[in-house]
Amino acid sequence: MFACIFIPDFPAQAIIRFESALRACPVAVLSGRPPLQKVMSINERARQMGVDTGATKSQLEAWENLVLRARSESQEASAHAALLDCAQSFSPEIEDTAHGTALLNLDGLAPLLGPLPKIARDIAQRVLQMGLEANIAVASNPDAALLAARGFSGVTLISDGHEAERLGDLPVDVLLESFSSDAVQAARWVETFDRWGIRKLRALAALPEVPLIERLGQQGLRLQKLARGTASRSLRLLGPPQIFTESVELEYPIVLLEPLAFLLNRMLEQVCTRLHARALALQEPRLDLELAATQPDDCESCSATRDSEFNRLPRTFTRTLRLPIPMLDAKIFLKLLQLDLQAHPPGAPIVKITLTAEPARPRSLQSGLFQPVFPEPEKLELTLARIAGIVGEDRVGSVELLDTHREDAFAMRHFAPLESASASVNKVMQPEKQKKNVSMPTSMSERETTCQVDVHNKFERHAREQMSAVIALRLFRPPLIANVALREAKPVRMRCLQREDIAGEIVWTAGPWRSSGDWAEQEGWSREEWDIAVPAESSLVLYRLVQDKFSGHWFLEGMYD
């Protein structure tokens, strides 16, 4: 059995899908260049008022309550994609028949989804959730289902063998609109059938075959089979989409964040619904904002210069959220986008919004009783975004030590502890495995900043054996400039220019430790380190004093604590 989903007045419904407030209003969609715009689609309320397709804009002025909208191909594409997603959620075999029309193969779905009437009702309900009102028809062959969906409103079920009986009352126009690609040829056939007195499909189905072929050819025979509901064919199957896109063009540019957030919320809900229908999730939503063209202030300047400057102005503003795990919560995406736009405003009014989502497999995590406490990934992302708004984007995250000998060489990474959570579970449940041995600095005169794995392996084992603390260094960022007095090439007195409380006689000195690196790079460095102790109030404070060999300046790099 096959089902057909048909969206009547598809261009109007595509617009109403995005502006749900218009569902209770009569809506007419205009196409063409002004002032020759004509109505190309209307909704049912406008039809009841007497509005007809083909009317010009001036003729529409007679209806005061009529809402006029320009045709939006991007919204039609989004609506059609949503329709296909809905169909995909029921059956893996679907056909993209036409704009606003999809065919599904329902064979073998009864044990999974229930009887056919229930499936048809569920499809109608799911399409309604997408913001579209559809006609659903179920028949034994795709073409009969398509005819029934185009001809009958609501949910229609045609049992096997009763196609001709059910389709017989439909007008011939429905048949020709559904299966004729040439409008001129279709108009000729309508005229021919009208001359013959054939206005319903029942009459066409009752014609003798041979005389019909003699007059209309094989195409006429095909039309007769369609009218009888006996044509059979296979579906032209559609593959899953690679990218999910929602787009909206604005009549008036947006300059405030709040209305933009309102529109983004609608778009995100649609995208998440479509992804959910396909059991997918979203990991990298991309937002493309088309900005209004802005011209330089001095319009009286040279036109050539003005045009070149105008062309250089950015027209599209793109922001991409890179999440550590796939998610499917529209509210969280909205909040993250809001926080991101607050930190990075587009800089100009917005005339078009496009939301692109690359699908990803939803994450699956095996929960356990003995796992340590862990923050929720969705909540953690929001928290990190808020913290970034307080302290700065590059000042929150996890640390990655760089494989270099330069002091304090590290990079801030996005905090994503989920990847290591499973490793920690294995660590808890299994005995510790022996980590690889790493060579250590051979002499105390050589102090190196090594890769995180090397340091971690060696000293973790040592600290565990000793079960005590490793002495820590607290850095001054940036390092404090110091005036140092030397005696016999050793520092004996120190005064910090930026901190008056750090000054005095140096009672202990250890060093120097010399190191240098990146000689081939422009950022080469060479330094001499001393560990010193300076009296402060009732105790001694230990510092690391560094001399830059290139400039000769002394710096207080940190304090041992």
Binding site: V255, P345, I387, G392, S398, F459, A469, V470
Partner: protein
Amino acid sequence: MSASTVFSSAATSRPFIFSLPLSPNCPEKSAAKKPATRADQILASANAAPRLARVVPASRLDIRPSPEMVSSGIPQLDSLTGGLARGCLTEICGSASSGRTSILLRVLAQATQRGEVCALIDASDAFHPASAAAAGVEMSRLLWVRCEEKYQSRKHLSAARLGRSAGDSYQGMPSGISQRAKKGFGFSRWKSQLEQVLKVSDLLLQSNGFGMIALDLSDVPVESARRIPLASWFRFRRAVEYTPTALLVMEQQPIAGSCSSLVLKVSAVRAEPTNPTAHSKLLDQFEISAQVLCSRLEKQSERKPMQTTTSFKSWAAWGV
């Protein structure tokens, strides 16, 4: 307990019993001279009966379970305090070069090795990643928040234009720092950072899921740190209560008042400067002494520990 019986015209034959005599001029001696009434007999029998159990005050009705203790990674410290308490605020205070940061890194290392996610709110951006790696901290599970003096957080742009860049202070949460605190020794320099610390702490405590959250206020002057209102500490304690999160505060002197469940003071024990061999021991075998200043962790089943101080050694990462 003496009692006097009064008969009111509004409630005839219903005695009102007061704890004190109604009139100083009406001593018990005069009452004893009166003939014993039925009420007096009742009172006499009540007084003769065993005293009822004391009424438990409402503040003690709630029996709170003992907090779960986790190891700090330093056995001497664990034997002194029993470890660090989850769902409680712990303060570790000490002067410069007393060993606070060494303890902090060891505690974070222990927590991250247990598989817990930890957060470090660094008020003065003094965290040294290499020292943390040497201590055994698993960096992938440590969230480092670096507060900065000059960063201006974004303004809430609900009514702002998208064409402009971000504005001034973040309006999502009150900072808690009073306006009068602008004056004072060096406070203006630390005001921005302390505001960031408080806001970030609020966010992290509300998000839940962290095994440990550490606030590093070690470099914040005492006068500035004391400007943090007590209400903030109460809020933090309430937020962390009954959660598996241990809240740790590093500072120069205790500032959280009664909000903290454990206050430790650490200091360094070093050889005399005149000792000629002490130069080689400058950083090697750096000995740290820890003293319990205050502990509000009630353990009903255990006796109060006799020991209040302990010491242990720390090792230089390059000395192994």
